[in-house]
Assembly symmetry: C2
Homo-oligomer: 389 residues x 2
């Protein structure tokens, strides 16, 4: 069957960070109202609502958030409101569902959002909630956490390819330079290589500045068929490629290669769908939950050969004025990582880049990519977005 | 756009009940393996996986179940695995997503499943997890629980329409008669009106036998375009109508009518899509989480005029040999209610009826309906299924 082209006609977001006094529901409503303003879409026009949320239940004791937020927004009662969950990929999964429903002609106008509230939780509760995306019947029992997971991958990447802690730490330095210009970022301070390498050890070799901060936040977008987009905006961004794949829920299944196989397959599918190749991409927002992840992801996405991501970074290729700017928003590292919102936060940043409206603008950016990985890479979503109006 | 007809080519389920020693993951795998056998579909053919689960996180500490189960099943890694959540409607939402993806031609073969593990949790944990689908910022704070919610609706239904406790209790008596014949049901004992009316008071006027039991269980189905169904089975059941709507997340918003508005709108949409009316339905599995719910739901679905559901029951219309058999499986009341699985458990029962293979067979059943309501009716899913091969 032939599918319709789909465009993003608006985006909305809260800043990410410690949003005191803002509830899970309140933040989601804020982002959704902003996207309706941005897209000039009246709530009556929305035909379906998808919401990504990871741990509203475990952290706040609130499940079934999609109809709750739909009702608060005053959306039509005759439409479906659906929550989707795939750990850190939850918001991208909402985007994926919305995309296909519009592409396939089921709906003409879909609101997608993601939200997470984390900073009110105790450290114990938060740790238990985050490891809930690891298989609790197997590796979860060993005490493995995500800093542990990425520490192991970092160690192996260094062993296999000679990647250095200097390279890994430069991810943090670069992303802080970028984040300092982004009003939505939680950390807006410039830090030095020494600051990173001398910061508190968390899980060898990872230090505190190699770990992104848990945060609160919500982000949203509205999707419609591209042929309808002009009625609403002159700044529509088309979805050129999109994919969601399944990876390994445990480290032990992943084999020897230091890669997330779900990233490799999702990016391959998305590039093929878009008819594009990695060198066509002007700007990337990828899942740097820990500094080594940016290096591993940049290789898995096909931008650099396996083992060469660290060098590419040192050469300045991924700087905002480099050949392939990565995370000009500051990434998860500086924006913060409200788990269920992050995927649409990345879409927000790339849409702003492609509109030419970003505070840390990549000059002439026309094609962008987002990469959002969940759990131990057990879910991965990649989207390729393109300016066309 | 024109959509394809979609058929259910197989179903699978665990029994519902206290499934000692069976994990969340284990039960889901069991139901999914059964559906692959039943449909003669090899796992390599599955192109997408949707899983309904409500409180795996809050009760077991396990989130991100879809990729976890997909991996254990050995599904292809290049396909998306997506968890959806909408309280007690979670499995029906998985079915709805699968339906549209096949109807719209995005995928040809979709596995949908639902699972819940409840009986290992403490009563406190379970209560906290169940009320997590009530708005915790408003009515959740008043201490309202679901027995309380349905007690209030029952009181009002009796006040407005003269419904009696005898009528409400007869729902339980009828469903136990039905459940006694269903090997998948948790309760298989016949009970009397006195047993019900003299059982322990839970929340006035509801007694323990007016409340369905928390249970463990998993159910699954495989969907494909109807034109492909014959390659796999000669017992395909077509989805004639389907709808998912949004209701009120709080009682205070619902107004005076003793109804779940989301049920009314979902059934209206599903009947319209199917080109059928309530009198065309031969068998119904509806959401009798509490006995009064069966009466309210049977009215909201359009089978009886508002206020007449109780009388219809006493007249025997909803018995297995009546004009409109309701819950010949025993319903949630006797099967048990593993929240995230129930919607597909209903589909399982109706499919067996339409195949003519049910242990409590409705004679000549050709068209069946499932109704699955979540939370305070904040989500509702209705499907109309039809024998065609």
């Amino acid at each position: 069957m032939a599918f319709r082209k789909v465009s993003i006609i608006g985006v909305g977001t809260t800043p990410y960070g410690v949003l005191e006094g803002q509830s899970l529901k309140g933040m989601a409503i804020k982002a959704c109202k902003e996207v309706m303003l941005d897209s000039h879409v009246n709530k009556e026009l929305i035909q379906a609502f998808y919401l990504g949320n990871y741990i509203g239940g475990m952290v706040i004791g609130q499940e079934t958030l999609a109809p709750l937020i739909a009702s608060s927004l005053g959306l039509n009662k005759t439409i479906p409101s659906t929550r989707v969950e795939g750990a850190c990929s939850s918001a991208s999964i909402a985007f994926m569902q919305g995309y296909w429903m519009v592409a396939a002609g089921v709906y003409d106008m879909v609101l997608v959002a993601g939200v997470e509230k984390m900073t009110t939780a105790t450290r114990e509760k938060l740790t238990a909630s985050l490891v809930a995306s690891i298989d609790t019947e197997t590796e979860g029992r060993t005490g493995l956490t995500f800093p542990g997971f990425w520490a192991l991958l970092a160690q192996r990447h260094m062993y296999e390819y000679g990647t250095t802690m200097e390279q890994i730490s430069m991810v943090t330095v670069k992303n802080h330079q970028n984040g300092s210009k982004n009003p939505r970022a939680r950390f807006r301070n410039i830090i030095t290589l020494e600051d990173v390498m001398e910061s508190r050890l968390i899980c060898d070799p990872l230090r505190i500045f190699h770990c992104c901060p848990n945060s609160d936040g919500a982000s949203a977008a509205i999707l419609c068929p591209s042929h309808m987009a002009k009625e609403f905006t002159d700044k529509a961004i088309e979805v050129a490629g999109i994919a969601q794949t399944t990876g390994y829920p445990t480290l032990s299944e992943m084999g020897q290669e230091v890669a997330l196989p779900a990233t490799v397959s999702a990016s391959k599918q998305a590039f093929e769908m878009a008819g594009l190749k990695p060198s066509d991409i002007d700007v990337v927002e990828l899942h740097d939950c820990f500094s080594p992840a940016e290096i591993v992801d940049s290789e898995d996405l096909g931008f650099f050969e396996k083992g060469k991501g660290g060098n590419a970074l040192l050469e300045g290729i991924t700087q905002v004025d480099g050949k392939l700017p990565i995370n000009p928003s500051g990434g998860l590292m500086c924006k913060g990582h409200p788990v269920g919102a992050t995927g649409l936060g990345q879409v927000y940043e790339v849409v702003m880049q492609l509109r030419g409206e970003h505070e840390n603008q990549v000059r002439g950016a026309e094609i962008g990519l987002t990469h959002n990985a969940g759990g131990t890479g057990s879910v991965c979503c990649v989207t390729i977005l393109r300016r066309w109006l």
